[in-house]
């Protein structure tokens, strides 16, 4: 039984790791602010879910698992909100997404 758990958590953890790394790559290679934000925040959330669940399997039913759940909730609450606030702030201050201007359409209509 524990072997199954170990293999499962190892799988989740490495998957989470991969997602996180992809997010990192996305943030660097993407051309424009908003695309980078898109890449980074999405992988952020999925990555944390995978890793934390993976670790929870390792910790089993203990105080640590409760703490892990709390952290997961925090992360799920805070990082998307932060990205949202960031996106709207950038938009208001006139930092237009590159792609929109390329096709000549004025995004404001």
């Amino acid at each position: 039984m524990s072997l199954l758990l170990d293999v499962l958590s190892w799988g989740l953890l490495s998957l989470g790791g991969v997602f996180v790394f992809i997010g990192g790559l996305g943030a660097v290679r993407m051309p424009d602010l908003y695309t980078r934000m898109h890449a980074a925040s999405l992988t952020d959330t999925i990555g944390s879910i995978l890793i934390i669940v993976g670790v929870m399997l390792q910790a089993g039913a203990s105080l640590a698992t409760l703490k892990l759940i709390m952290i997961l909730i925090f992360l799920l609450l805070t990082s998307p909100t932060a990205t949202n606030a960031l996106a709207s702030a950038a938009l208001i201050s006139g930092n237009l997404p590159k792609v929109a201007t390329q096709y000549g359409k004025d995004p404001s209509q």
Partner: protein, 332 residues
Amino acid sequence: MTVFFGVFLLTLLLIVAIAIVRADNLFVAVMLGGIFSLLMATIFFLLDAPDVALTEAAVGAGISTVLYLAALALTAEREKRHTVHQIKALVVVTTTALLVIFATFDNVQFGDPTAPVHVHVGPWYLENTQRYMDIPNVVTAILGSFRGYDTLGELFVVFTAGIGVLFLLGTRPKKDTEAAETLIPQQSETSEGLRNYLIPRLTGRLLVPIILLFGLYVQFHGEYSPGGGFQAGAIIAAGIILYALLEGETAALRVVPQWMLMALMAGGALLYGMVGVVGMLLGGQFLDYSVLADNPVTGQQLGILLIELGVGMTVSGVLLSIFHAFAARDKY
């Protein structure tokens, strides 16, 4: 294995440090400062110092970034490229660094248990915490009781900083006073924070109680896991600052009015002092907690709990009043 992580993180640290010095835009420098202290906290965590990591995170990343930003909002945003007497600085700096390397070069092994540091006083604390206080967190034991006098001094350093900022920023700036009259009637947009940002305000409303709860947890859980007065104070202050950011500074002042902050500041310091004096009155030395209760061990625990509470009160009071002093400056 710690060493490899450490080396990687240290290189990252140095890169960030150089980036901070070279950054022209001060906002950028402050944000990189945030990253700097996050890295610093992780390194501390790697070097088996969770308490210090928590303090560095709460104080370094949280509060100091907020204070820097509040100050930047009032002063210049961009640094004028004017590095004066560069060579002289480089010479002085390299000599200091060489001096330090010369001192620590070959005779100090990283982490070897036989180094004099670990032989003399360190181990005594590890054994005697069990005997005298019977609490798991040795760092809090030393902080609270063995070197309680240091922490009293520390508390008063924070108290002085609070007094100082309130004293300096207490005056209404002369030239702006006339403008201030006109400003007050129509509620200025700035102090309303992110009023029209719906999502952050909602999550904020949800998060602030959790942060405060977590702060209190850290405050009273200091003896079992990394935590204590300073960290708790910082976290509680961060929570209320978050509320101020979201709901606007006046709303935050309504929740925690100025006189309450002053009471918190003075009360915490007084509480700590009185615990020491009571120890003296009951026949022990100054700051001797074993006389506080009939059984010395519970006395020590009670003492540590009280002084951690005092520290938490003062630190949160000071940090909040400093934040309000900066934030209120906008209105003038």
